[in-house]
Symmetry: C2
Subunit: 254 residues, 2 copies
Amino acid sequence: MLPATTRSKAEAKLSRPVQVAEAIKDWVVEQRLQAGDRLPGETELIERFSMSKGTIREAMRILEAQGLIKTRTGPGGGSFVHEVSRQRAKALLGNYFYFKDLTIGDIYQLRLTLEPELAASLAGKLSEEILRALEENIAEYSEPATDIDEERTQHVASLRFHTILAEQAENPLLGFVIDFMVNLLSDLTVYRRLYSPPNVELWQQGHDHQQALVKALRDGDPDAARAIMSDHMETAWKLMRRQEVKMQNRFISE
Amino acid sequence: MLPATTRSKAEAKLSRPVQVAEAIKDWVVEQRLQAGDRLPGETELIERFSMSKGTIREAMRILEAQGLIKTRTGPGGGSFVHEVSRQRAKALLGNYFYFKDLTIGDIYQLRLTLEPELAASLAGKLSEEILRALEENIAEYSEPATDIDEERTQHVASLRFHTILAEQAENPLLGFVIDFMVNLLSDLTVYRRLYSPPNVELWQQGHDHQQALVKALRDGDPDAARAIMSDHMETAWKLMRRQEVKMQNRFISE
DNA sequence: ATCTATTTGTACGTATGTATT
DNA sequence: AAATACATACGTACAAATAGA
């Protein structure tokens, strides 16, 4: 597991702060520093790199923006290696898609195949605590919403169900991608056409799916879990389409 | 399409540079600035925010690190809104997974379902130019490798095939995720057990798959494309497993 | 509760670098 | 080639935060 940095490229002139930031990154990897380990203080870095204070500070801000370090003032303070948080990663990736005009369909094309896969892989592997959390979450929307505001709240809550599952994924990649997509969906503003009334039947189906899914997960039945999630995704997708939902570009905050 | 920033939170004390960076981000969104548009110069930002030059500069480095702006010197220079590049997004996301110990199996769990989906969605939609590029790429590894070095080169080249497809995806999310995974695979170092000789048969299968896939794509046959890609992924996965490949944590460079 | 030492955070003046016209 | 309009870099001084005595 010898980590290293891929340095190569046409390597167009990089500004000093960026160079320093890269050098520090490399140094951290070389030293096998782990999350929580302390980096040299400002003054030491100034000497080590023969750079001015401002330049060093700009470099640190770069690393901080990438979520790789955290900095504290005071005695015993300084900069510390920090594991990039999932929230930070989602925010940074969100910046990329800000410019990309994703459609709801784009998201569902992935959810439709990935969420059933996740559900199957979690069957029989969740603690009773998590299963309870899922059930409590479902309880939050056990009754159909009466107004459009409540409906939106329920919609977000029902998405939370999927976030909980994503957080339990053994496959970090699968978990992250699903979490990210659910995040995008939670963030979007819903416009419903006036002539498209809330579809209680579809809503009820979704609710029942989630309950059945928890049972399959508890029973350790991966095939059932996959099948139910598959149906659930189809239902959710139908609901979204009916409601004429529009994506809205925004930056994800941390 | 009214973009906006979700500002809320416990909002723990943020450093000034971070606050300024966020404020500038919001301002850019409010002003509906597009990629390429110019931001106010340093001196103007200093006045606008009543901050020192250093603070403003640190803020700009943050935005730059996130890939949201580019800065040029000289007359007519300054900072400009910049669409986050795919390469930058991959690098930033890579930092997140640096701490996560992904396995090859994790990646293939996603490739196995996503790549066939991509292949199907591209059937009949690729220009002759792209189809040619794919064929030329395949030609780079039409003969079995003779030594382990050449084999690695061919391995990377055959992954390049998938990158080309990912870049053509109509679904930006699907394209990005696949591109990112292929990037991870290209970056990893391959250790082969001595008693595991190169499997020419499997390699040949992979090669044939790719040729058949190009034909299906040209013919506009989505079902065939999906089926072939599905087989191809199984083959690739078998090859990787046989070769006892190990992931190595590293930072992706830009 | 206060002081003190440590370490980052902010300010500002000046000089240098760089690309356009 | 020179002037111009920008960012880039440096150094110092001082302010703020925090932990510990």
